[in-house]
Symmetry: C2
Subunit: 76 residues, 2 copies
């Protein structure tokens, strides 16, 4: 079973990587960019028997820092 | 207009970050994980007038390294 985990910073958390990308886009002449947020995409290939609780635990224990990050799981 | 850019390593390109996550999941006792690939998720808020060609150019010039990475654009 293929899973895609999207890890994004919570609103209000400073995002220096996103800011750097924003500045670089401006520097390259791309106007009209209002905001950039950088996150992570983790693609997992797990056994079909893996249940939702286990997937959730993986995210909370390792893949996302739930103090500052949100995560979303998508089954592909 | 909100965009989400998914940047993933091309098949065959070594992914040490994904390997490290895989090992850490094993170490935490999560069995049944066959493969892990790490990628990037970049959320852009751009002016509605931004056309597809400009978005594509942003990806090719800055957001993705097209030698080793694929990218996909999703309009949110």
């Amino acid at each position: 079973m293929k899973l895609r985990i999207f890890v994004t910073l919570k609103p209000g958390v400073l995002d220096p990587q996103g800011k750097a990308i924003h500045k670089a886009l401006d520097g390259l002449g791309f106007g009209g960019v209002n905001d950039v947020r950088a996150g992570k995409l983790i693609e997992l290939d797990v056994a079909d028997s893996t249940d939702d609780a286990a997937i959730d635990e993986m995210c909370r224990k390792l893949l996302a820092n739930t103090v500052i990050e949100n995560y979303r799981v998508e089954r592909a």
